[in-house]
């Protein structure tokens, strides 16, 4: 038992060191430093928020546009940015694998964790500003927002593990990812409410794995305006199975990995 705990503490130490390294090298120490973690998504998000608010007005089909846009845009960025950053991550971090306590899995977890942390900070900051200025209301059911975000992060982790590992074996992964990541925008559930579909189509719509996550977050904020639909076991099964496949791929990854 004590050796297991020791291993666990080494694991945490190593992942901590990798996350710090990630923040230092990506954002540097100049001006805002690691706060740039939020900078890029915030700039994107404010552009989108302003545009949608101008084009669509305050409400769209009876739903507050700003809340709707923020809840769609930021979690969608989480998935797209994390997976993009995870592709070829092993190759890029190859030098760090010179240190035996550092494993391939640590490297990819560190990257996924720092992306999730950045996205969560962005989400919190953007919500803070919008709430303070009265542009957004406090969520009616905060627990549902967290639950939806949790599934989004878990699913992202699973897909990130699988594609991160496969991208090291074949360049095709990267080639397919670019169009797929654009296709993900309309198919994610970020900008289309399940309530807008009729009963037959809604069933199919909910088969897209992340729709439930977005619907859960919207349920937390917009329950006074619209009904949300979700299937928790379904997205949990997707997240768990991608995570397991990812972990399985990593089991044999080290044997094939060439440290350059």
């Amino acid at each position: 038992m004590s050796t297991f705990l020791q291993c666990l503490s080494v694991q945490f130490r190593v992942i901590g060191a990798l996350v710090m390294r990630e923040l230092q090298t990506r954002y540097g120490r100049d001006n805002l430093g690691f706060l740039w973690l939020m900078g890029e998504p915030l700039m994107f998000a404010s552009g989108v928020l302003v545009l949608w608010r101008l084009v669509r007005g305050e409400f769209q089909q009876g739903i507050p546009v700003i809340t709707f846009t923020l809840l769609g845009y930021i979690p969608m960025l989480l998935f797209r940015h994390t997976v993009s950053r995870v592709l070829n991550c092993l190759r890029d971090s190859s030098a760090l694998l010179y240190h035996r306590p550092v494993t391939l899995l640590d490297v990819i977890f560190a990257r996924i964790l720092s992306e999730i942390a950045g996205n969560l900070l962005t989400f919190a900051f953007a919500f803070g500003v919008l709430f303070a200025t009265g542009l957004m209301d406090w969520p009616t059911q905060p627990a549902l927002v967290f639950l939806g975000y949790f599934y989004m992060a878990w699913f992202t982790t699973g897909v990130g593990l699988v594609l991160g590992c496969l991208s090291d074996r074949s360049e095709l992964v990267e080639k397919f990812w670019t169009p797929l990541s654009y296709l993900f925008i309309p198919l994610s559930g970020a900008y289309f409410l399940a309530a807008w579909a009729n009963d037959t189509w809604r069933e199919y719509y909910l088969l897209l794995p992340t729709v439930s996550a977005f619907e859960l977050m919207r349920a937390g904020f917009l329950s006074d305006y619209v009904r949300s639909y979700w299937d928790q076991p379904y997205i949990a099964v997707w997240s768990a199975s991608t995570t397991l496949i990812g972990l399985y791929l990593f089991r044999s990854a080290h044997r094939h990995f060439v440290v350059r």
Binding site: R21, Y98, R100
Partner: protein, 215 residues
């Protein structure tokens, strides 16, 4: 003790498979200083990487009963955007040592001064080697794996690293890939000749050097 048993490493090439290491077995005891002799491309670096655990063997096993350094060679083991201080912080965290001590001891050896705050990509290759070496000395491994890098440094670096490895650390084991017969004669008790992926230990240094010169 470190024991390699039937270690074999295959790499996938554009065409077919390249066997870089072929069924290598040997034992290295605490405090032993072993020279690794072989032509370029014989498999020395691959063998060192496998011993250190950076890469896994295709077949065979490596048993490690002492702590091993990372391979100290031309690849530093750090990201080029990290500064010397970042690297010290990274090493301190990963190997569980206090940062001020790691930084202090590394810089005593590496003498980088103000450059500790600059990114590694701005270093000359000699400075990179000094940093990596200094950091590994700060961790106090039982065994150091050195891949040619000593022979490449300037005379001051060579003198300091000799002092550290051979004089101050008599009880440290050392596996040293090197081309200089003088260093082998003065400091090593055994030699491991690596040739076309095969490797054999020689207790007789002169014999080993003679074979090496005939390759």
């Amino acid at each position: 003790m470190i024991r390699a048993l039937g270690v074999t490493k295959d790499y996938r090439m554009e065409r077919g498979i390249h066997r870089a290491i072929d069924d290598v077995s040997f034992t290295m005891n605490r405090g032993e200083k072993i020279a690794v002799l072989g032509l370029n491309g014989a498999g020395k670096s691959t063998l060192i990487r496998i011993l250190s655990g950076v890469e896994l063997p295709t077949k065979g096993t490596v048993e490690r009963q002492m702590s091993l350094s990372w391979p100290l060679g031309f690849n530093t083991g750090f990201h080029p955007a990290m500064t010397g201080n970042d690297a010290a912080r990274f090493v301190a965290r990963v190997y569980g040592k206090p940062f001020p001590e790691v930084r202090g001891r590394a810089d005593d050896f590496a003498e980088l001064g103000r450059f500790m705050a600059e990114p590694i990509r701005s270093y000359s290759s000699g400075m990179q080697a000094r940093l990596a070496f200094g950091l590994s000395l700060a961790v106090d491994f039982d065994c150091y794996l050195v891949d040619e890098v000593i022979g490449a440094g300037d005379q001051r670096f060579q003198r300091k690293s000799r002092e550290e490895l051979f004089e101050k650390r008599v009880n440290c084991a050392l596996l040293l890939a090197i081309h200089s017969p003088d260093i082998v004669r003065s400091y090593c008790s055994k030699a491991l000749i690596v040739h076309r992926g095969r490797a054999k230990i020689f207790e007789d240094i002169e014999l080993a050097l003679e074979i090496y010169q005939g390759l």
